[in-house]
Symmetry: C2
Subunit: 276 residues, 2 copies
């Protein structure tokens, strides 16, 4: 049951202070808050999966002419989440740019270090992604989208990877950042060793990988490890774990890391019988 919408006529109204200049806020990630934009992401934020992952909406801000179109989505939020509506002029004055298509929500993150608890609640048979040095928001968003499409159980990001809760990463993920469990913050080697200790076969994806991704055998638990675009996975990781490659034409720049993650996940999910 959604809250009754409240009209806002002053861009400086303190009730919508959290939406001011969200392009800058995007760069800060402070306060444990994040911005969800667009109807697809708002819908995910209102679903049980987001709640299980510890995400909660603080408030919703809509362009007045979008209100009727998102009524069914608003119904999935408790009535303790305020819904504000504003004219185009007020909306633009608040948000500071016009890329949001008139649908914004302010969300709150759960405490950051959930690595231990997330590992504890992974199912007996698991497929997870591990990212090392993934610094591009577009790529991280795309990787989460692929993780959701192929049923990965979680994403683990090392301390040098960017926060997937940046506005643009959430948008590119079509909300999957909120529905696929993740944690972030360990050193890469520590993260992978913990996964190995939990029974995961660790497979580093690299153009120099030892076997084709189509030769990765189905096992109980698999972690697919992705490195940063360009540099790829560091030598100490490639030499510590098994490695796989995506067969491609020689002499070219390797595939984009998001596309590579999609191909490898597709192949592993097929082998594990997760899609078909």
């Amino acid at each position: 049951m959604a809250a009754t919408p409240v009209r806002i006529d002053d861009p400086a109204d303190p009730r919508i202070a959290g939406f001011v200049s969200i392009r800058e806020r995007d760069l800060t990630g402070r306060d444990g808050l994040f911005i969800a934009e667009g109807t697809v992401v708002l819908r995910v934020l209102g679903q049980p999966a987001a709640l299980v992952n510890g995400f909660a909406a603080e408030s919703i801000l809509l362009l007045e002419n979008r209100l009727s179109g998102v009524a069914d989505i608003l119904a999935s939020f408790p009535n303790t989440v305020p819904v504000y509506v504003a004219s185009q002029a007020v909306f633009d004055a608040v948000a500071g740019f016009n890329m949001h298509r008139g649908v914004l929500a302010l969300g709150r993150k759960p405490p950051l270090d959930r690595t231990a608890s997330l590992m504890d609640r992974l199912p007996e048979k698991s497929l997870v992604l591990a990212g090392c040095g993934l610094s591009n928001h577009d790529n991280v968003g795309s990787i989460f989208r692929n993780a959701a499409a192929f049923g990965a159980d979680a994403v683990f990001l090392d301390e040098t990877s960017c926060d997937p809760l940046y506005r643009k990463a959430i948008r590119v993920s079509v909300g999957s950042v909120l529905s696929v469990p993740f944690s972030r913050g360990l050193a890469a080697q520590v993260m992978l060793e913990r996964l190995a200790a939990e029974g995961f076969e660790i497979w580093g994806l690299s153009p120099r990988g030892a076997v084709s991704v189509s030769a990765i055998p189905a096992t109980r638990r698999i972690a697919l490890v992705l490195g940063t675009e360009g540099e790829g996975l560091p030598e100490n990781i490639l030499s510590s774990f098994r490695t796989a490659r995506i067969p491609q034409r020689p002499g070219l720049d390797s595939l984009n890391v998001a596309t590579a993650s999609g191909i490898a996940l597709y192949q592993i999910a097929l082998a594990m019988g997760r899609v078909g």
Copy 2:
């Protein structure tokens, strides 16, 4: 043998007029010219494949401190292509923004309608992509990058798809737009019927496809057809040709079209023995 670099001190120098305000020029595509930015793309522009496809450099503009780093790339251009160098201040005043990393080239397109001649020179065994309504420059660039990685022989784009020679599409493709032969401009149905008449098995990629992409049989000539993100391929195309899907979890937004093209191309290239 590269031309001797010429120093430019005036942003209004007519010799570099083609580089003025390239962000706006990006939106116009007029004059049969295009902008190549960055060392990776410049390297591709200097290779024989780009020349075979009808692309030629008109001139090169470098930030002065980048000159020595690209000497080996410059050597691949004939000395009839002028090389200009400028200070940061002049460079920024010319290009109008600072995203180009100090390496720009102005290229010239071949005449646009090469559909007939491109079809004529495809090899007996061929794998091609056909795009219908691909309007996002990032996606089109990524699709060309995938086409190159998996050895596709050509890309055909319908009249409603965007020009892959937009600056951003070339950059995202890491230059593959210049090395993978393409043509653009026919109505989708006409384009696909011509490919069918040339002996291509036409496979439309769709979340509602009849078979899994892993079940596409290797044949002499295959055309993989991609639709626009969101809407997908129109009904008249899905009902006229064979269709394949990428198995994935139900109830989600389908994969990004560029990622989907990578997965399908990977699977088809494996089946056709093009990579391994």
